[in-house]
């Protein structure tokens, strides 16, 4: 490769990276800090903003816990046993990845909306799912459904079940085997799956938007509150919230990259040791 080709490639790459990938985050910070840091922080202390932050944290924690517990059990089932329709189960778990966020919200309205199958009946008992936090949780659970299973499954399949069978012979219970034998080997992958679920859960917009009803201070998560502020021409407040959310999500993803490196190194060391 000639020096000229090489340099034009380098310049072209950095130009694309600067325009496409560096300008957007810079713009978020610049718009948020347009009236200074105190104004930006003040806008985050607004009661509706605080309520949105709290709701996002609650929904994220709940969906991560639920999808991690069930996701680990599903990965255990798929990787350690052979049973009929196993392939169908794997395919079903993967489906939410290919579903448009808006569709992921719509399906819950079809069940629990005012014109849904059970919406009216549940309303009768004063149980509200659509346009309430329960609906937001269901939408978030759907959107983040496959990530934990997907991340740990290849590793757990590769591990086989020799260690587990040995533990069974020694009289270990299911929880002991899962907790002391299977999961320690998969811990970095599991952590990476949990962090991916976390980042996706806190940033979800389309699905949550459809089921939330957009009630400020009640059913608005951080992404929804960003939309409300932006459409209300409160640019500084919108971008301050956007900056906070982007920093939260990018930190989570950054940790994930770090732990994935650890996992890769652990896997290499494991290969060398065996």
């Amino acid at each position: 490769m000639s020096a000229l080709t090489r340099w034009s490639l380098v310049v072209a790459t950095w130009l694309i990276v600067a325009v496409v990938l560096i300008l957007p985050p810079l713009l978020v910070l610049s718009e948020a800090l347009r009236d200074g840091l105190p104004t930006a922080l003040q806008s985050l202390a607004d009661p509706d903003a605080i309520s949105a932050i709290r709701l996002t944290v609650e929904m994220t924690v709940l969906s991560v816990v639920i999808n991690t517990v069930f996701g680990v059990l599903a990965a255990w089932l798929i990787s350690k046993y052979r049973f009929p329709l196993r392939g169908v189960l794997v395919a079903l778990i993967e489906i939410p990845i290919s579903v448009s966020p808006v569709v992921a919200g719509l399906v819950w309205l079809l069940l629990f909306g005012s014109q849904g199958w059970w919406g009216a009946a549940l309303d009768h008992y004063n149980i509200h799912i659509a346009f309430a936090p329960a609906g937001i949780l269901l939408a978030t659970l759907f959107v983040t459904f496959p990530y934990v299973t997907r991340t740990i499954l290849p590793l757990m399949e590769q591990q086989g079940r020799d260690a587990e069978d040995a533990a069974t012979l020694l009289g270990a219970s299911f929880w002991q085997i899962l907790w002391r034998v299977t999961l320690p080997d998969a811990r970095w992958a599991l952590l990476s799956g949990i962090l991916l679920t976390t980042a996706r859960a806190m940033g979800e917009f389309g699905a949550v938007s459809v089921v939330s009803g957009h009630i400020p201070g009640m059913t608005e998560t951080m992404p929804l509150h960003i939309e409300t502020l932006y459409n209300g021409y409160q640019s500084v407040a919108a971008f301050s919230m956007a900056a906070l959310l982007a920093i939260m999500a990018m930190t989570t993803v950054g940790f994930r990259a770090f732990f994935e490196n650890r996992a890769r190194r652990a896997a290499l060391a494991g290969d060398a040791g065996s």
């Binding site: 490639l9 380098v10 072209a12 790459t13 694309i16 990276v17 990938l21 300008l23 957007p24 713009l27 978020v28 069930f70 059990l73 599903a74 089932l77 350690k80 049973f83 009929p84 189960l89 079903l92 489906i95 939410p96 290919s98 579903v99 448009s100 966020p101 808006v102 569709v103 719509l106 399906v107 819950w108 079809l110 069940l111 005012s114 014109q115 199958w117 659970l141 759907f142 079940r161 587990e164 069978d165 299911f174 085997i177 980042a199 940033g203 979800e204 917009f205 389309g206 459809v210 929804l224 960003i226 939309e227 932006y230 956007a242 959310l245 982007a246 999500a249 990018m250 993803v253 990259a257």
Partner: protein
């Protein structure tokens, strides 16, 4: 069925404990969160009767929205192919100053929440924006037009191309290119005849992933799109509009088409990858 029951029964004699617990919890989880809602999506359009279905199929606005979504997703993925290949090539084969930074930045569109992307691109390319203002002087307007949708989908789709092609390019031995050079091929011939054909399956699968994501994308698009019915209204937005009109049948028929389209796309990508893995498609070692 009999075979399934038999097999489950014999499975209980598997010495490894936990099968029943894992099976029941997984069926509960998959059933409640995935199967139940998707069943509603598949059953609901037929429940309203054939009248509602035919009405939905005569909805010009729906077809316009689907056309906008498919067209912009296709164009964005198409433009991302040369851009993504260029980035991947420099990342893997050129001593790029700041390579680690570029490598980390490629994943940025995956990490930023879509609503943040949406308001950021709308402001950046808006009439007063850092890029929108100079472009307006040149007579180019991007925000609130079809071009705006394409720009947003390009941002969202770029990592798919790079991350699909990157491992394959890394696995290609540079000796192959050196050999082509020794045999008298010019560097363009080497790229066209030797390198690109080997990258084709990975590029197609990256294209498919970006396209599938693009037709369903909502948050990063609606702020920059302008959202004019028949012109810049994307299909996912029309789902939301129909829901606000309490037209569940209309919303569900669009959702159904979107679901089938993206599942076909991803099934195609999965099939392509399996064939490549089995060596049925040559060019990848």
């Amino acid at each position: 069925m009999a075979e399934a029951t038999l097999s489950v029964r014999s499975r209980t004699s598997d010495p490894l404990p936990g099968f029943r617990l894992a099976l029941f919890s997984t069926l509960l989880w998959v059933g409640l969160i995935v199967v139940l809602p998707l069943t509603a999506l598949i059953v609901r359009p037929w429940q309203e009767g054939l009248g509602a279905m035919t009405m939905a199929l005569h909805d010009g606005r729906m077809f316009a929205a689907l056309r906008v979504s498919f067209f912009t997703a296709f164009i964005a993925a198409l433009i991302n192919v040369p851009v993504g290949l260029l980035l991947t090539w420099t990342l893997v084969r050129v001593q790029l100053p700041g390579r680690r930074i570029v490598d980390a930045l490629i994943d940025l569109p995956f990490a930023i929440p879509t609503a943040v992307t949406g308001i950021t691109l709308a402001t950046l390319y808006g009439p007063q924006g850092w890029l929108g203002k100079p472009l307006a002087h040149l007579g180019i307007s991007i925000a609130y037009s079809t071009a705006g949708i394409v720009v947003a989908l390009m941002f969202v789709g770029l990592p798919f191309i790079v991350r699909s092609v990157e491992p394959v390019l890394r696995g290609l031995p540079p000796e192959q290119e050196e050999a082509a050079g020794l045999l008298g091929a010019s560097s363009w011939q080497t790229v066209w005849r030797v390198v690109l054909p080997s990258l084709l399956p990975a590029t197609v699968s990256g294209f498919g992933l970006a396209f599938a994501r693009g037709i369903g994308e909502y948050g990063s698009v609606i702020f920059i799109a302008g959202n004019q019915p028949f012109r810049t209204e994307i299909a996912p937005l029309l789902v939301v509009v129909r829901l606000q009109e309490f037209d569940y049948a209309g919303a569900t028929s669009i959702a159904f088409i979107l679901l089938v389209a993206s599942m076909l796309c991803l099934a195609g990508v999965a099939m392509l990858r399996r064939r490549v893995a089995r060596g049925l498609i040559t060019g990848v070692n």
